[in-house]
C-alpha cells in the first residue's frame, strides 16, 4: 500500500512539473485564451458564409437543375463558357456594369456638390442635411413604386414638368422604353443615395483644418479654385469609402427592378442579380444560377479589394 502511494505521489509531482510550464504558457497566450470565444463565431461564419460560398462555387461546376441531388462526379466550367455565348447574360452584365459605374459616378458628383453647398455654413443646414439623407431610409420597394408614378408617361410629374416647360419632345415612357429604362432607374437610385455620398463627403470636409481654407483665401484664390486645388484632393479617403458603399448598393438594385418588372425585366433593365434569381428560382437551373452568383461575387471583390489594399497601404486596417 505504502509503496503504491509513494509511486503515485511521485507521478503527480512529475505531472505537475510537466504541466506547470504549459499551463503558464496558456495563461500568458492571449490567442489560446480567446479561442473558446472565437470558436462560436468562427464556426458560424465558416459554415454559413464561407462554407456556403464554397459550396456555391462547386455547384456552379455541376449541371444541376430541378430537384434531387447534384452530380458531383464530373465538374467542369461548361456553364461559364455557356455564359459567354448567352446574349441574355451579356446584356445583363453590360447593364450591371453601366448601372454600377453610372450610378456611382453621378452619386459622387451630386453628393460632393451638396456637401460643399452645405459646408458653406448656409441657413437651415441641419434640416437640409436631413432632407437630402431621408430618401436613403426608404426601402427600394417604396421608392420603385414612387418613381413609377413620377415617371408615368401620361400623368407622371416628370413628363408634366417637361411639357409645361415646352419640352414635349423630351417627354417619354421612362420605365417602359427599353432605351431609357436603365437611365430612369439610375436617376431614381441617385436620388435615393446621393445623400449618403453627401454625408461621407461632409465628414471629410469637416476634417480638413480651416487654416488651409484661410491660407488659400489669403493667397487670393477664388472659391472654386480653393475647392478644386486644396479641398477636393484631400477627400481621397472619403471618395474611396463612398465608391465602395455605392458600388455595393448598386449591386443590390435587385429589389427596385424586381418590384417594377418581376423576374423578367427584358433587355433594357435586366441586371445580373435579377438574372441569377430568375435562373435559380424561376427556371430551377440551380447550377447556372450559382455560376452567375460566382460572377457577382467576383464583381464584389473587384469593388472591395482595391479599397482594402488602399486601406492596408495607408495602415488603416
Amino acid at each position: 500500500m505504502d509503496e503504491t502511494n509513494e509511486v503515485s505521489t511521485n507521478d503527480r509531482t512529475t505531472l505537475t512539473g510537466l504541466l506547470g510550464p504549459i499551463t503558464r504558457r496558456f495563461r500568458r497566450n492571449e490567442f489560446l485564451q480567446s479561442l473558446p470565444f472565437l470558436l462560436v463565431p468562427t464556426l458560424l461564419l465558416g459554415v454559413f458564409v464561407y462554407g456556403s460560398i464554397l459550396w456555391n462555387v462547386v455547384l456552379s461546376l455541376t449541371d444541376f437543375r430541378g430537384f434531387g441531388n447534384p452530380d458531383y462526379s464530373s465538374l467542369d466550367v461548361e456553364l461559364y463558357q455557356q455564359m459567354l455565348n448567352d446574349p441574355t447574360f451579356i446584356t445583363a452584365a453590360k447593364n450591371t456594369v453601366l448601372l454600377m459605374g453610372g450610378f456611382t459616378a453621378v452619386c459622387l458628383i451630386v453628393g460632393l456638390g451638396l456637401a460643399i453647398l452645405i459646408d458653406r455654413e448656409i441657413r437651415f443646414e441641419g434640416s437640409l442635411r436631413t432632407v437630402y439623407l431621408l430618401p436613403m431610409s426608404l426601402s427600394f420597394v417604396v421608392t420603385s413604386i414612387f418613381w413609377a408614378w413620377m415617371f408615368n408617361p401620361s400623368n407622371g410629374v416628370v413628363n408634366y414638368l417637361l411639357r409645361t416647360a415646352g419640352l414635349d419632345f423630351l417627354a417619354n415612357d421612362w420605365f417602359g422604353d427599353p432605351a431609357t429604362q436603365l437611365w430612369a432607374i439610375m436617376i431614381a437610385l441617385v436620388w435615393q443615395f446621393s445623400g449618403l455620398a453627401m454625408i461621407i463627403y461632409l465628414a471629410g470636409l469637416r476634417k480638413i483644418p480651416t487654416e488651409q481654407y484661410e491660407a488659400a483665401q489669403l493667397d487670393g484664390a477664388p472659391v472654386w479654385i480653393r475647392y478644386l486645388k486644396v479641398i477636393v484632393p484631400q477627400l481621397k479617403t472619403s471618395t474611396f469609402s463612398a465608391i465602395v458603399i455605392l458600388l455595393l448598393f448598386s449591386l443590390k438594385a435587385f429589389d427596385f427592378i424586381y418590384v417594377l418588372y418581376g423576374v423578367n425585366p427584358g433587355p433594357g433593365a435586366d441586371i445580373l442579380p435579377v438574372m441569377m434569381y430568375r435562373e435559380a428560382f424561376d427556371a430551377n437551373n440551380w447550377a447556372y444560377g450559382s455560376s452567375i452568383a460566382v460572377v457577382l461575387l467576383l464583381a464584389t471583390f473587384a469593388a472591395i479589394v482595391p479599397y482594402l489594399y488602399y486601406q492596408h497601404k495607408k495602415d488603416l486596417l
Binding site: 470558436l39 430537384f67 441531388n69 408615368n152 417594377l260 423578367n264 424561376d282
Partner: protein, 429 residues
C-alpha cells in the same frame, strides 16, 4: 464530395455542438401540426381560404393545422420559399399553388407522393373531376400527387357596356382576334376611350394575352401542338399571333409599360378603355365598386375565336414527400376535393369549381353570382380545356422561364422574327 443532405447534417451537427441547447427544425411546422403553405394573404383569396379551412376544422376538429402564409406577387414568394424547402427535402404537409408540369421537377426528384388510392379513389374524384384537370395532377407511374381546387378562366374579353354601346360595337359578334382590331378602331374613333386596357410592365399579362390570341387565330389543335414544342411546324401561326399582338399596341393605354395589372383594371372600370383581357380574378376588383355591376356596367365574352375553349389557370393542393403528417394531409386533400370545399372556396374567390357535379344555383351560405354561373356552364360545355405558359400550367419551369424571357424582349422591341426564333430555342431544354 458530400451530398447536400450530408453537408446540411454536418453543418447542423457542428453548429449544434458549438451552440449547445440551440437548435432549429429547418422551418417545419410546429410539433405534429399539419403545415399548409399558401400565398393567399389578402383580399378574396384569403377570405376564400379561411372559409374552406373553417369547413375543414368543423369536419376534423382533431387535426391541428399551421397556416404558413407566403405573400408575394402572383405566388412568387411562395415559390421561392417552397423551392428552398424542397431543396432541403423538408417539405410542408401540403401547399396550395399551380398544378401541372410545374410539379414535374419535384416528381422527378422523388419529392411527391401518390394519393391515387387514399384520396382520388376513396373520395371518388376520378368520377367527377374533368379529364384535363386530372392530367394536371397525375404524373405517370407516380400517380396522382395533387387535388385541383379552382379553375380561373383566362381567355376572357371583359367589356365596358357603356363604352361599347356608345361606339355601337357588339363584342359577341366579333369572330377573331384580327377582327377585334377593327372593333377597337371603331371604339377609338367613336369615343374618347382606348380599345384595350392592359399592363405590359410584367411579362405574364402580355404572354397571357398572346396565348389567348394564338388560340383565337389558329385554334385549339395548333395551340396544343405549340405547347408540345412544335414551334417551327407552326411558324405561320406563331408569327400571326405575334403580329396581331403587336398591332394591339396601338389600341392600348399609353402608360401600359408603367402601370401594373390592377391599375389597368381600374382604367377599364373608369371607362377609359372598352376591353380588358384578364383572368377571372379581375371580377374581384370589379366587385369592390358599388357602381360597377355585372351586366349593367360590364360583361364578358370569350376572346374572339375561342368560344369552344376554356383556357384556365388551375391551382390545387399537393402531397409532397417526405410527408410529415400523412394521415392529416390525406384528410385535408379529400376535403379539398369535396363539393363543400370547392363551393366554399370558389364562391368567394371567383373561379369555377373543379368538379362537374356542383349545384351553382344553391341557396346555402356560399352562393355563386350570375357571372360565375355562366362561367361554370361554359366550363362544362367547353369542347376543350387548356391552360397557359403564363401561369405555369402547361410546360416545364425551364421552358416557361425561357418563353417569359422571349416575351420580356418582345414587349420591348416588338420584333416578330426575333421573338419567333426565341420561341424555337425556348423549348430546347
Amino acid at each position: 464530395m458530400p451530398t447536400r443532405r450530408q453537408f446540411v447534417t454536418t453543418a447542423g451537427a457542428g453548429i449544434a455542438a458549438a451552440v449547445a441547447g440551440c437548435s432549429g427544425n429547418g422551418g417545419s411546422g410546429s410539433g405534429g401540426d399539419m403545415e399548409i403553405m399558401i400565398a393567399w394573404s389578402g383580399g378574396d383569396g384569403a377570405t376564400a381560404f379561411e372559409a374552406m379551412h373553417d369547413g375543414f376544422k368543423d369536419e376534423y376538429p382533431d387535426v391541428a393545422t399551421t397556416i404558413n402564409n407566403n405573400p408575394g406577387g402572383a405566388g412568387t414568394g411562395l415559390a421561392t420559399a417552397l423551392d428552398t424547402r424542397m431543396f432541403n427535402e423538408d417539405p410542408p404537409s401540403t401547399w396550395g399553388f399551380f398544378t401541372g408540369p410545374q410539379l414535374q421537377p419535384f416528381v422527378d426528384g422523388g419529392l411527391m407522393g401518390s394519393i391515387t388510392e387514399d384520396v382520388w379513389e376513396e373520395a371518388g374524384l376520378t368520377e367527377v373531376v374533368p379529364e384535363y384537370l386530372q392530367q394536371m395532377c397525375e404524373f405517370g407511374s407516380t400517380g396522382y400527387v395533387a387535388v385541383p381546387l379552382e379553375f380561373n378562366r383566362l381567355n376572357n374579353l371583359f367589356y365596358n357596356v357603356d363604352v361599347v354601346e356608345e361606339a355601337g360595337v357588339d363584342p359577341t359578334s366579333i369572330s377573331s382576334p384580327t377582327e377585334l382590331i377593327d372593333a377597337m378602331d371603331t371604339i377609338e374613333s367613336e369615343t374618347g376611350a382606348n380599345g384595350l386596357a392592359t399592363s405590359t410592365q410584367g411579362t405574364w399579362v402580355v404572354l397571357q394575352l398572346w396565348e389567348s390570341i394564338y388560340v383565337g387565330e389558329n385554334g385549339y389543335d395548333s395551340y396544343q401542338s405549340f405547347l408540345e414544342g412544335n414551334v417551327a411546324e407552326n411558324e405561320a401561326d406563331v408569327k400571326a399571333a405575334l403580329e396581331v399582338l403587336a398591332e394591339y399596341r396601338s389600341y392600348w393605354n399609353d402608360d401600359a409599360a408603367s402601370v401594373n395589372f390592377s391599375e389597368a383594371i381600374s382604367d377599364f372600370m373608369g371607362g377609359e378603355a372598352a376591353f380588358l383581357n384578364q383572368g377571372a380574378w379581375a371580377v374581384g376588383n370589379f366587385s369592390q365598386s358599388d357602381e360597377f355591376n355585372y351586366d349593367t356596367h360590364w360583361q364578358s365574352t370569350p376572346i374572339p375565336g375561342t368560344d369552344d375553349v376554356f383556357m384556365g389557370q388551375n391551382s390545387g393542393f399537393m402531397y409532397p414527400e417526405p410527408q410529415p403528417t400523412p394521415e392529416a394531409t390525406k384528410k385535408w386533400l379529400r376535403y379539398v376535393g369535396s363539393k363543400e370545399a370547392q363551393v366554399r372556396f370558389n364562391a368567394i374567390k371567383g373561379g369555377v369549381p373543379c368538379r362537374n357535379d356542383i349545384e351553382m344555383d344553391g341557396s346555402g351560405e356560399y352562393t355563386f353570382n350570375g357571372y360565375q354561373q355562366t362561367q361554370y356552364d361554359e366550363f362544362l360545355a367547353a369542347e376543350n380545356l387548356t391552360g397557359t405558359i403564363a401561369h405555369n400550367n402547361e410546360v416545364l419551369p425551364q421552358i416557361a422561364s425561357n418563353v417569359s424571357g422571349v416575351f420580356s424582349t418582345f414587349k420591348s422591341n416588338w420584333n416578330v422574327d426575333q421573338a419567333y426564333n426565341g420561341l424555337v430555342d425556348a423549348f430546347d431544354v
